[in-house]
Amino acid sequence: MMNTALIQSFDRVMNELYIEVKKEDFKNRCLALHKELNSPVMMMFAEDDRKENNDFKIYCVFLDKAARQWTIVKTKISPESKKFEALSKDVYSASIFERQIKEMFGIEAEGAIDLRALSLHDEVWPKGYYPQLKDFKIPGHDNLKSGYLFNKIQGEGIFEIPVGPVHAGIIGPGHFRFNVAGEPIINLETRLGFTHRGVEKLFEGKKIEEAIALSECISGDSVFAYSVAFCNAIEKIYGIEVPYQSQLLRAIFLELERMYNHVSDIGGIALDVGFSFCANYAAIIKENILSLNNELTNSRYLKGVNGIGGTSKKLDDKSRILLINSLISIEKDFNELKNMLLSNASFMDRVEKTGILRKKTAEDLGITGVVARASGVPIDLREISSETYKDEGFKLIKHQEGDVLARLNVRVEEFIQSLNLIRRFESKIKYVILGQAQDDTCLKEGFALGYTEAWRGALLFWVRTNKEGLIERCKIVDPSVHNWHGLTFAVLENIVPDFPVCNKSFDLSYSGNDL
């Protein structure tokens, strides 16, 4: 068990356990928790606290599934040293966060396996400017040169294929570099950050209402999940209990979001192997769900629906009938789609055993969401988020194979489960208490971790508010942050023409990753 003598303080806020340790003990404490809880580093970030306490803070977050809580190791480092001991040599899932901390604060993880910049490309950004420091000033441009080093794979007959940032399709920007030996891919490196808009910095100083609107503009296909995760953090800070009826309504919208995205992915997988009839069939289903969203809430992507303490829209009787009737026709169409896909031999041939992500790799990388569950890793925050799901018979859906077909199957089964969950949630709705704008008297200083299972996977928001009730620090982890790494492993030994279908089966966010 833990050596408690080294712990400086324990602090419990709702289901978050903060363990403060000395800088020297930080690494060991994190490694011990990683092993004990069998959790990857879910999130690691820094905070500039020089104004109040003249130090920086580093937080490392683990998920304690058994206790349904978050365990967070915290340490202080002095502004003079700006260094701490890296975890990435022992826990790979920490690597991406060490790069973020170095890039945004200039705090160096000593002994890290990689400290290259992620979003601030050196072609356009001078060295030594760290945007998330409180005293940061925008630099001028002068004599910038690219110094980014891709991994070099060399040998006879090995070719390099650079792709992007502007891709052939209607999709976000990113750069991929393939190394191929003949047809098979032997290495893939991604360089992202092209859609970096400085979102975390933009949150600072925002009022809660403005911040909700901003959270809805981060990743356009997860609008509602983002607002739920953000509001969850604020509700925890304010100590607001979301009424059961409002929780049901939120769950309905979350599942609608999951459904339109899952069916869009299923269509995308069909399209990327050239099965255009099914792709168009799926597009019709997606459009029907988006139109349903529009009729229910006046927004196809559920913008402006959520608020602190609950949703600002309610479902009247007419909407409820519309919802239930629409679900019937959506289900019918979806079953047809499923049969057409899974009974087609040439389609199955393309997706089976393509793009395999092994369970061990998925665990080491900290993969979450659909991709993790298709590789046999049982992680779904709906199990721990609220009682709503558990009561209505939610079951975690998992496959073992880790190939494109497994990810397709997880989506198919989750789509059907979401349909049934919505029906059960809807039948429990009696009345709805609407979320309300908070008046200034209850503005509170504090911090909390908000979270939800977005359709892609675990979405986390760590938020601190100041005395005036404004956002002081906001750290966001989109499921794509971990999962992009998974893609680079899944495509190995596959041929380049199968990359699009592998990529679509992951369907990751550029804007959520780059922030």
Binding site: G172, T195, L202, I284, E287, N294, S511
Partner: protein, 168 residues
């Protein structure tokens, strides 16, 4: 195979008829086809570039090509290369990392060329205009001829916007 045939027949035609200012699109479409033929030679091809959008605009652009909206029936289509394009459709507030890529894409297009912006971010940076990492609008990087507003604009609004652009 039999499943596909069966569903093809069962589903029938799902394409919506669209009216602009109470004029049915079909008649408008005929008018447009002649306009497109005159100005662009048979069809109007668009290359889409995301310069840091959240992805909702892309989702709606893709939706315009689904069987319900079926943008292609008006002779408008999306292409994979700027070299095949008559116009560039740009979304997003233009992040610093994308400014050069946008410029290069524009330079790669043949004359005559146009830039259409789509979504509030592309107009002036929208929600992100105060960020340290955005240029704040597409017109800071390349000349813009037309804007389709919304956050994101619905597929119908995109189609109407594109048709208005072609007519102008």
């Amino acid at each position: 195979m039999i499943n596909i045939l069966k569903n093809r027949l069962k589903k029938g035609i799902v394409t919506k008829s669209i009216s602009i200012d109470k004029v049915e699109i079909e008649s408008l479409g005929r008018e447009l086809q002649s306009a497109i033929k005159k100005k662009f030679g048979r069809s109007f091809h668009i290359r889409e570039v995301d310069t840091g959008s959240c992805g909702a605009c892309e989702s709606e652009i893709i939706a315009t090509t689904n069987p319900i909206y079926d943008l292609q029936r008006f002779g408008i289509d999306f292409v994979a290369s700027p070299r095949h394009a008559d116009a560039l459709l740009v979304t997003g507030p233009v992040s610093k990392n994308m400014a050069l890529a946008l410029k290069k894409t524009y330079d790669a297009m043949p004359f005559p060329k146009f830039v259409i912006t789509l979504g509030n971010c592309a107009l002036n940076g929208g929600m992100f205009k105060d960020s340290y990492y955005v240029e704040g609008g597409v017109n800071k990087v390349v000349p813009v001829s037309f804007h389709i507003e919304g956050c994101p604009p619905a597929p119908i609004d995109i189609i109407k916007g594109l048709l208005r652009f072609v007519k102008s």
